[in-house]
Amino acid sequence: MAAYIIRRLIWTVPVVLLVIFMTFMLMKQIEGNPFRKSERAVPAAVQMNLERKFSLDRPWYVQYGNYVKGVGTGDLGPSLVLRDRTVNDVVAEQFPRSIELGLLAFGWAVLLGVPAGVLAALKPNSRVDYGAMFFSNVGFALPNFLVATLLIYFVSVKWGLLPTSGWTTWQHKILPSFTLGLVPMAYFARLVRGTMLETLQQDYVRTAKAKGLRWRRIVTVHVLRNSLIPVVTAAAPLLGYIITGSFIVENIFAVPGIGRYYVTAVSARDYSVVMGLTVLLSIIVIVANLVVDILYTVLDPRTREART
């Protein structure tokens, strides 16, 4: 097991290098000047000073080499646009908030999505099933920005129950995390329903039933546990998505997280922020996948043998 984890960790190095290289090349391909922030033309002298300051006047392989060296030492470089801050500052201050938002959203998804799926599967084609699947469809279909705007309008402006935006008290965190959690919630509900129905048809469930086990025990020990494997598989990339793909939710609810930087940094051609965040994202996804693979071995003994 340990050898397996170490092997996987070593593999992340070339993957991250490849990610850096591809992002770097893509950034070089987009037109646009990071130092021209408005329609105002940038005088040649100013442009030159900025390029010199941020080493953009060096050949690309030198820039790439320096960047990789920086990442190796944990230095993601200065932001080209936020002049008082480095990418490390941005990550250190903003990233924990996005993780918090993502985890809370994930919490909503697990808390509401999984039970909805279970209930629907236990009574297929019943009212419970249709109700759960209706909400799942709606949750899946409604775009974040619509849900967010409606929630703010009704819950905050009209009824005055919760603050409109911000990220200070727990009350501030309810609406954004719920909005962000809606899609994974709907996804989990459908996924759990599907796999549960499949598991319920398995021979070992029939055997368990035949030997007289109580239904509740069959469901919790045999059915649910085996049905959760695809959920765990889906969870890892989903977790990456909700931590980093929260741009719209963060923007509308004014959550000072990192999601918005994924988009604004590209528009602003803030190369170092784009690179830094991409590296970070890829590391998260790699780690999340690793965690999932380890969880598999806990949930499904059959996968244990193939790996050791």
């Binding site: 987009i30 037109e31 646009g32 000047n33 021209r36 922030k37 408005s38 329609e39 033309a41 940038v42 005088p43 040649a44 002298a45 100013v46 030159m48 000073n49 900025l50 010199r52 300051k53 941020f54 200065p78 646009v81 936020l82 002049r83 008082d84 801050r85 480095t86 500052d89 941005v90 201050e93 903003q94 920005f145 619509l146 967010a148 705007t149 409606l150 703010i152 309008y153 905050s156 402006v157 009209k158 005055g160 603050p163 409109t164 935006s165 911000g166 990220w167 200070t168 719209i248 923007n251 509308i252 609810f253 004014a254 000072p256 997280g257 918005r260 988009v263 604004t264 528009s267 602003a268």
Partner: protein
Amino acid sequence: MRLRIPVLLAAAAVVAAATVAAGCGGGGEKEKAGSGGQKAASQVLKMAWGAEPPSLDPGLATDTTSSNVLLNMMDPLVRLGPDLQPVPALAESWDVDGKVVTFHLRDDGRWTNGDPVTAHDFEYSWKRTLDPKLAADYAYQLYGIVGAEAYNNAKPAHAAALRDKVGVKALDDRTLQVTLTSAQPWFVQQAAHHSFLAVHEPTVERYGAKWTEPQNIVTNGPFKLAGWKHDASITLVKNADWRSADKVALDRVEGRIIVDGTTRVQAFEAGEVDALDGGGLPPADMPRLKELPEYEKYPALGTYYYGFNLKNIPDVDQRRAMAFAIDRQSIIDNVAQADQIPASGMVPKGMPGFETIEQHFLPPRADLDRAKEFMAKADDPKQKITLFYNDAPGHKEIAVAVQAMWKELGIDTTIKAQEFAQYLEFLGPPPNDAVYVYRLGWIADYGDPMNFLELWTSKSGNNNSRFADPAYDRLIEQARNTPNDEQRYEIYRQAEAMLTGPRGQLPIAPIYWYTYTNLERESVQDTFQINPLDQFDLSKVVIEEA
């Protein structure tokens, strides 16, 4: 500059507007709180800022939000009066002698650590902004000073020598002498821009790029930076030791950073904030918001225009026809909706000298008869053209409206959007050959028409039209050396005529002059004022009893 909101969010704004409009009945009559209301016991202003300030270093800041935070934390040499004329601030007076401007500083300016504010601070700060090593985006704001451009352009080896040649010198603690490259009669006004603020040398040298963090920063203005949670909040508190602190009513300004326009409006409507920073209201919400008693609008110095690529539309009569076919008032009423003013020229209304400069040629309403006459006179008019704009909220709707208006002239217009940074590269100058017409705007840096008219000189980096006329360049050069206002305005009139007058070349068709729209609680409406350069002075704000 403000951060741009993606299209998706514009869509959100539309949805929001629809839902909100459906939810509320029409607003009541607009009633202003009577002036001279009672001062409220609590002087804490809650406001929403539209962006995270990219930098609170006066040398590095380039955007409106940073600028407004800075101008309330720092003491500029001069501030701008209601007519944009400079009024004394830290400088109690100044003398102008040809190209030499001498500022006389008050003796009671203090940094928040107790150090006196001296002329040496300004000399240090301006030279620091010009230092090629700092690489300040707005270093060029200081290029009017002798030797400034040369120093900013210096190779590292020559920098030290050129630094001493920059024409800014502290003659003593209270006298700052500035030598300009030409008379530049607007220079004193320009000193109200945040690029001309002083920074505290020991603090900057000690903390480097981190000197603007709240635990390090040393300022010298009416408010102090008590907290700055990046992307979340900015808290300002009254600086009790400021030279005129007895005139400042507000004890605290609790600012939240809310980038999304619709959310800002909702935070206001939920009573969480009392004023917005004037960054504009979502166009889709405008019809409803305009009816609110908290709605305020202010004239702005800015021009929204369509530029022509003279290579692709070479005939001036066709450009005249196209400019005459645009129904500016209709665009304002039905599309832009923020009570903008139909633009007849490049220099916006409200600019000093406007009455002299204004050309009465381009009409506010479409004049199709004359447009068709011009079109008939055009030699080989282009019937298939392409109009480019940047993909930000509002521009597409205007482009679609103009497309329909030009259809009346038999012109088939294809409209194309581009992402902003790419768009700017695409426009050059010189512009890409695919461009026939392009959209841009210009917001003033300072209150002199020069700031708008110098754009159209042949060497200007902001002239994307290929318009180049040596006679025009000469006029602009002449204006730079004409200190007398009336004479200079007359020169500007001639320049404006060459652009948008009856015999002008019309490298642009101006659409509208900007306004700033805002929401302000009635308790602060009397004293919260935004000037035409988008600045607001919180030291003048008083919260009145509701």
